[in-house]
């Protein structure tokens, strides 16, 4: 093993809008090891999707990566030329999106889309690419792939479309698969099937998965490690077990307590307030405004990331004092 597959250091992404500079991602660190499932969890607007797009270097105007490094398999992605980056996308790093039906091109049949992708990256000729595409469709559990091959996205259900997205993402054997809330808009049982499939396919192909979600339940069920994001910062990251047993950041604790439970008779807690505006965010801890244990120091000084017990990182001024 020669170091992590993906190592993000000090990544900062700003959006230059007319109202001011939106500090969408603020100096985050993230680590993904080969073959693992890494969860990224946080509320809407916490910078999860922006981070995902930054890895692929697809941040669009007015967004800009201000600083940081993204090491992928030993190479800094931010230093590559656009052409080098393009050949990496889809072949080494793949991505699947929130809404599978609108992420597939409506005028091309689904099989054709997979086939073109194979031909784009592997330079296979048509017959062979077709065989591969059909084989992949079968692997992700599409019944009668020869027939589905010719169907268009609007003829298929959301779950089917997401299976096809997964097939498309993994057909080139990427090392990293970014799944941006892959189960949004799917009903619960289909969502579970899709997540099972993702995990299984990840293990089968050896791809690491960066699973972006707002659902800690999903993290508990499917991830090896997890990073908690809040207002553009990673506030805590650890193995799933450690995070649930011993949450060190008040935000993480609140998130865990806000998971609805039917087995214990407790009132579900909510987290007061919303993610602070990211134009001129508060100078100190960005969670201070919502934190019940915040003190003077929290509002003034930004907490640094500290390592506790090796692989448990947290950014809080008074770990364990609350």
């Amino acid at each position: 093993m020669t170091g992590p597959l993906l190592q993000i250091e000090d990544l900062t992404v700003h959006f230059h809008t007319e109202e001011g500079i939106v500090e969408a991602v603020d100096g985050i660190q993230l680590l993904v090891q080969s073959g693992e499932v890494m969860g990224v969890v946080g509320e809407s607007g916490s910078g999860k999707s922006v981070t995902a797009l930054a890895i692929l270097r697809l941040i669009r105007e007015p967004g800009r990566i201000i600083q940081g490094t993204i090491q992928f398999a030993g190479r800094n992605l931010l230093g590559l030329s656009e052409e080098e980056m393009r050949t990496l996308r889809g072949s080494h790093i793949s991505m699947i999106f929130q809404s599978p039906r609108t992420s597939l091109n409506p005028v091309l049949s689904v099989g054709w889309q997979i086939e073109r992708l194979i031909r784009l990256h592997k330079k296979e000729h048509t017959e062979k690419a077709r065989d591969q595409a059909i084989q992949m469709l079968r692997q992700v559990g599409i019944p009668a792939p020869e027939r589905i091959y010719h169907e268009f996205p609007h003829q298929l259900s959301g779950g089917m479309c997401q299976r096809i997205m997964i097939a498309m993402a993994l057909v080139t054997n990427p090392k990293l698969l970014i799944a941006d809330e892959p189960t949004t808009g799917l009903d619960v049982s289909i969502a579970a099937q899709i997540l099972d499939l993702l995990k299984e396919m990840g293990q089968r192909t050896g791809a690491a998965i960066l699973l972006i979600t707002h659902d800690l339940g999903v993290v508990a069920g499917y991830c090896d490690r997890v990073a908690v994001m809040h207002a553009g910062q990673v506030v805590e990251s650890a193995s799933v077990k450690k995070l649930f047993q011993n949450p060190l950041h008040p935000y993480t604790l609140k998130l865990i307590h806000s998971i609805p439970r039917v087995d214990v008779d407790t009132v579900m807690e909510t987290i007061p307030g919303t993610v602070p505006g990211l134009i001129h965010p508060p100078p100190g801890c960005r969670f201070a405004g919502r934190c019940q244990v915040a003190r003077e120091v929290c509002r003034k000084i930004k907490p640094q990331v500290q390592s506790i017990n090796g692989d448990h990182q947290v950014a809080c001024h008074h770990i364990g004092h609350w």
Binding site: G90, S91, H150
Partner: protein
């Protein structure tokens, strides 16, 4: 081997889609009739020499200015040429010019419109200002100017019509592209590493086409009107070629003296053809535009 099997299915599925389209079209009987008329005119143009009873250019001084009769169903003109034969042959010129002009305009506009819509920025500004400049001329006057300046050869008529139609399609495709580039599948196409040109022309451009097909069908009608109009004022197709507009112009002189058949039949041919294209265009809009679906 699975690949071959799949390919065999391809054309069968395409055929099924076509059948569904036709079935939808058939619900609107007027438009379906118009489609039949257009097909009829196209067949007429293709097989003109077989269908026409006489040589369209054969003059006969003894047969000049004959009214409608059994020998000459649409009468004869001042040179004794059979008008029916000339109307049949005229379909060739008018349809061909309109079709070629539309194809040229579509090809150029697809390129310009999708590129400027997707890229935005200075390129978009540049293309749009050029288009605005072309659009600031009344289109028929512009077509007249081009043919007058370049000389009235067939190719120049085609170019004139193509140029006057480019702004329509370019604006339409650009507008569609502005909308489509924000779609998630546009982003998805980027994340799998497609080159930019492939994203624009292969993945996104076909998504712009439904409204373009409608526009092109309607514009075919205008194109035919423009050919006929240019020829009518002597700037289009030159005699002795049979062309509806020019024939109408020839006949116009004789309306007062009572030889109504000379202008009437070519004029009717223009009218019926343009009307049919418009009807089919409207029907296509109903079929292809999902927002209009269900409104009957």
């Amino acid at each position: 081997m699975v690949g071959q099997l799949v390919r065999k299915e391809d054309w069968r599925i395409r055929l099924k889609h076509l059948q569904i389209m036709l079935r939808r079209l058939r619900r609107n009987s007027l438009s379906f009739g118009a489609l039949i008329v257009i097909l009829g005119i196209i067949l007429m143009a293709l097989f003109a020499p077989l269908i026409a009873p006489y040589d369209p250019n054969a003059t006969d001084a003894n047969q000049a200015m004959l009214s409608v009769s059994r020998q000459h169903l649409m009468g004869t003109d001042i040179f004794g040429r059979d008008i029916l034969s000339r109307v049949i042959h005229g379909a060739r010129v008018d349809l061909l010019v309109a079709l070629v002009a539309t194809i040229i305009a579509l090809a150029i506009s697809s390129f310009l419109g999708s590129l400027s819509g997707y890229s935005g920025g200075w390129l978009d500004h540049l293309v749009m200002r050029i288009i605005d400049t072309v659009m600031s001329f009344p289109s028929f006057i512009l077509a007249m100017g081009i043919t007058a300046a370049l000389g009235n050869k067939l190719i120049n008529v085609v170019m004139a019509i193509a140029i006057t139609h480019i702004p329509i399609y370019t604006r339409l495709i650009r507008g569609e592209m502005l909308h489509i580039r924000e779609m998630e599948y546009a982003e998805a196409a980027q994340t799998v590493g497609n080159p930019r040109s492939r994203i624009i022309f292969y993945h996104l451009l076909p998504n712009c086409f439904p409204p373009v097909i409608v526009q092109a069908t309607l514009a075919m009608g205008w194109a035919i009107l423009t050919v006929a109009g240019l020829s009518f004022i002597g700037l289009g197709i030159q005699p002795p070629a049979s062309e509806w507009g020019y024939m109408t112009a020839e006949g116009a002189t004789y309306i007062v003296s009572g030889e109504w058949w000379i202008f009437l039949f070519p004029g009717l041919a223009i009218m019926i053809t343009v009307f049919s294209f418009n009807m089919v265009g409207d029907a296509l809009r109903d079929i292809l535009d999902p927002r209009m679906r269900g409104i009957q």
